[in-house]
Amino acid sequence: MLSTATLQLNESETLLWTILRSFETLALQQYEKNISSLATTQKKELINLLVLQVPTNAALESTSLNQPVNDLLAVATNDSELDSLIIQGLLLEVLGQTIYQNIKENDNFTVYTHNLGAVGLKARESIKENTHKLIVEKIGSGDQIYQAFINISRPVIKSLDALGENLDQHFSEKFNISFSDLMGEFVAELVSTSIELGMERRKVVAYLTSTLMGI
């Protein structure tokens, strides 16, 4: 049913899924271009579903989120396997997982958004293990991964942080979650993933701190 029916998303949810569709579509394009093994069936199914539910950017274009979302999409677009692994595979996939997990646990969303979020989590799960394996294979030791991570990810994290206030303006009251909450969960997940990849925790936290401080 979920794959063909048009869901009754409310206005805020339509905006949210329009944004998520843009990022998931970019991720799939980047994987198809640079790391084909990450362009999984589950990822394609998610995007087909989102295109069906929110086919245009109309909900986004008239809002203050349009520019910062486009800025983030622009810095997340690249032509190399390494950049795609770090930006899409590591950073934005962890962010997506954080958002989908939050949707799952948040009663303020409708059942339709809960269903879409579950598909998002499934798509994330379909590439998680392989992404980590590829990062280690292609980059090497924890220290080398850390160097690649800090060299590549800074503009993306800065652009993400620039979205913060606008996200709060549109979603905070409606869904009872603030950007600070979301970033807390995102950073916690990212630090945990970084440790799994062999990076030194203190260095990762210091790097994220400096980036979020705008230094």
Partner: protein, 245 residues
């Protein structure tokens, strides 16, 4: 402790920065001594050791003052008072409420986290200020010892009552981080001017603080989330160039 002597001509921005940082170190140690003394009044059974801790903190302040004098550094009391005033207000309220545990969290987690993060980093530039390396190194060792004691106390006090600790930590920490985390943001630029990285110090404070929460029973992701949540508004203020207090 015997200190070697040196005089150096340094740029005005560095002089102003080191005056402020040393002011915070000297007078922050006095506040730490006060907190341990207040704690000693609330739990008689721990009074001997807490009074000793207070004496050690006061001694750190005296060492830093002496090292400053020998390096032509004038610890900036006005700056320190301004930064520490909000902390003292909170400490007085916790004492009025006779909450030993709240004082333990403020001192053991927040005040000591800031001190440890900055002292650890300062050691890398201490050679520029002769005589400071040995006193900061010694103070750092002693601060770590104090934190170990507080952690042990909290682990025993909240054994099998982690939820109670979580509620206490969140209540006390939100105020406390607003204060000492805010101070860390306010001194970040001064740290840069004496050759340190303000961001690295802030990162070290966040990470050190997260690890302390884990040692008392927070699960790693929850601890990180808790700390990042508290720091995010401070980061935003820092980026906008606003004072955090």
């Amino acid at each position: 402790m015997q200190l070697s002597t040196a005089c150096a001509v340094r740029p005005a921005t560095e002089q102003e920065s080191i005056n402020k940082l040393m002011g915070l170190a000297v007078f922050g140690e006095k506040v730490a001594a006060k907190i341990y003394l207040l704690m000693s009044e609330l739990k008689e059974e721990y009074a001997p050791i807490l009074t000793k801790f207070a004496q050690m903190e006061a001694q750190h302040g005296a060492w830093f003052m002496e090292a400053s004098r020998k390096n032509d550094i004038e610890p900036d009391k006005e700056f320190a008072d301004n930064e520490l005033g909000y902390l003292i207000y909170q400490v007085d309220n916790h004492f009025k409420a006779r909450s030993f545990e709240s004082l333990a969290v403020v001192q053991g987690f927040i005040v000591e986290s800031l001190a440890i993060a900055t002292y650890e980093s300062f050691l890398s530039v201490a050679h520029k200020y002769p005589g400071t390396h040995e006193v900061f190194k010694k103070a750092l060792e002693e601060e770590n010892y104090h934190v170990d004691w507080i952690l042990r106390y909290l682990r025993l006090r909240f054994f099998d009552a982690e939820e109670d600790f979580r509620v206490l930590a969140e209540r006390v920490n939100i105020q406390g981080i607003d204060c000492m985390g805010g101070t860390m943001m306010n001194i970040a630029d001064y740290l840069d001017k004496v050759g340190l990285s303000g961001a690295d110090c802030a990162g070290a404070m966040m990470d050190g603080y997260t690890q302390l929460l884990e040692k008392v029973g927070f699960e790693q992701k929850k601890a990180t989330k808790h700390v990042v949540n508290m720091f995010m508004p401070l980061f935003h203020k820092y980026r906008r160039g606003e004072k955090t207090k």
